[in-house]
């Protein structure tokens, strides 16, 4: 499965999606089955139990976390454990929840480190939390454009953004919670700060949704629609809740720009590149 093999030992980083075994792609599954060493970071026992049926050698990375310690140290520990096995000459597969590049620091970092050291390394695409959101909320990110920010980052590093595009803010229930701490109580006060900032850009009646994807096949996703102004008092907030802010009314196409583009397209003589 790996490209450009140079040294003995390789790394493939895959994701399992969110529905235990229901969303894993066949290519990711083959990698897990064929790997000599498998490391995983999954947050439910059904998925990790299933993973061990694919490859009995699967080892959890969960013990890389220490309570109260900042996330980057746990990440560094995971990367080193994964890359150490690659250095020892094994074909390694690292398995994460959802999509292994999205919000999973050790996924990309271990691939980069292994490749820098001369090993073949790659990430495979997987079902991300956004894929579930688009399907469950009936949102087409292509029709209005979409902006995605980690909620704390969105607040702490303010940026220019287009309110006529769909806005997705992940970890909206975990604002400011950077450490790995025991318990999973959401930060309700943080959500109030986020609401205050959004009210500078959207009317208080603008309908928004708190979304949590289904984690197990028998449970439906949790979707709570409400007016933006009511967001701070929303029930059902969790540390993994995503906030979906639909776009405001689309601006019309700028006539001059669009007719110019159409004219340019009409001038294209044929398919071939010169």
């Amino acid at each position: 499965m790996t490209r450009g093999r140079t040294k003995v030992g390789s790394l493939t980083v895959v994701g399992t999606g969110y529905n235990v075994a229901g969303q894993v792609t066949p290519e990711a599954r083959s990698c897990i089955e064929a790997a000599e060493r498998v490391f995983y970071l999954l947050s439910d026992s059904a998925t990790s139990g299933w993973l061990k049926t694919l490859n009995v050698k699967a080892e959890s990375l969960h013990d890389c976390y220490r309570v109260g310690e900042p996330g980057p140290q746990a990440c560094e520990r995971m990367v080193e454990r994964i890359v150490l096995a690659v250095r020892a000459g094994a074909d390694v597969c690292a398995v994460f929840y959802g999509h292994p590049a999205v919000c999973v620091a050790p996924g990309i970092e271990s691939v980069r480190r292994a490749r820098t050291e001369g090993f073949a390394a790659q990430l495979l695409p997987a079902i991300s939390f956004e894929d579930c959101l688009f399907a469950d909320l009936g949102v087409d990110p292509g029709s209005s454009g979409r902006l995605m920010y980690e909620a704390t980052d969105f607040l702490v590093r303010p940026r220019t953004f287009d309110t006529t595009a769909a806005l997705i803010l992940l970890q909206a229930g975990a604002i400011g919670l950077v450490d790995f701490t025991a318990g999973d109580q959401p930060n309700v006060a943080g959500l109030a700060v986020l609401t205050e900032v959004l009210l500078r850009h959207y009317p208080p009646t603008h309908r928004v949704a708190l979304y949590r994807m289904s984690q197990l096949p028998i449970f439906p996703p949790r979707i709570d629609w409400m007016a933006l102004a009511d967001l701070p008092s929303a029930g059902g907030l969790s540390v993994v809740s995503t906030l979906f802010v639909p776009p405001l009314a689309q601006r019309p196409f700028d006539r001059e720009v669009f007719s110019r583009l159409q004219q340019m397209a009409a001038n294209v003589p044929n398919a071939s590149h010169p």
Partner: protein, 269 residues
Amino acid sequence: MTKRPSLTIVGTGFLVAGQVTPESWSAIQVSDRFFFIVGEPATRLWLEQQHPRAESLHDVFWDGRPRQPAYDEIVARILAPLHQGLDVCAAFYGHAGVFVYSSHEAIRQARAAGFTASMLPAVSAEDCLFADLEIDPARDGCQSFEATDFLARKRAFDPRSGLVLWQIGALGVVHYYHRDLWNRDGLDYLVEVLRRSYPADHPVVVYEHMQLPVCPPLIQRTALAALPRCTINTHSTLWVPPVAKAPVDEAMLARIRTSSLHRLYAEAV
């Protein structure tokens, strides 16, 4: 009580059967009627073998036909068997809900008519881009637009977050053509607009995801100013990395720290 007929919309990802999730594959198998609209021939062949009554919807498109009547025809054909009491599954390429009008519209109309309807998630073109270019879209934020829309609606954006522009090879095109539309003038104009926010030598990537298991993704790395010299087709996507990290709003950081400390305190007592 009779069971209400249901509509399930699935996506096939991009690697023939290699990215089809088990839940989507089962949905195809258990349906009474199965429709698909997938341009890639190997995937089409594979899908035809997955259901005894697999029916391609590809004949709704022909050169020069406006898109909307084609989309409406897709919806009507998917919904028809529901009215005869049959369970329907329809498969689209990639993620069925991304850059697809007819899938969402079919679900809306099916629900309005009292049927059960749902969409299953699938691997999208953006998922492939994040994996192949090794980008975490949550790190600096990610702004994603269709390229013609980006230019014609004069979208506000921030160069300190990532920018993904889709269909840079079909700038200004509103009709369906079964050929590559390489609009050099349009690309020059796109570069002119981006140059107001990024330096000429800003590194950008023209990306085309894998279509078949044996073909690696096409990744062309270039300077922004040299973009019009890249090979670009209707599947090409432009990735523009952030120019710099946006500065921290210290007052906001302090407020957020306080709010999270309160939360930790509440948990302790």
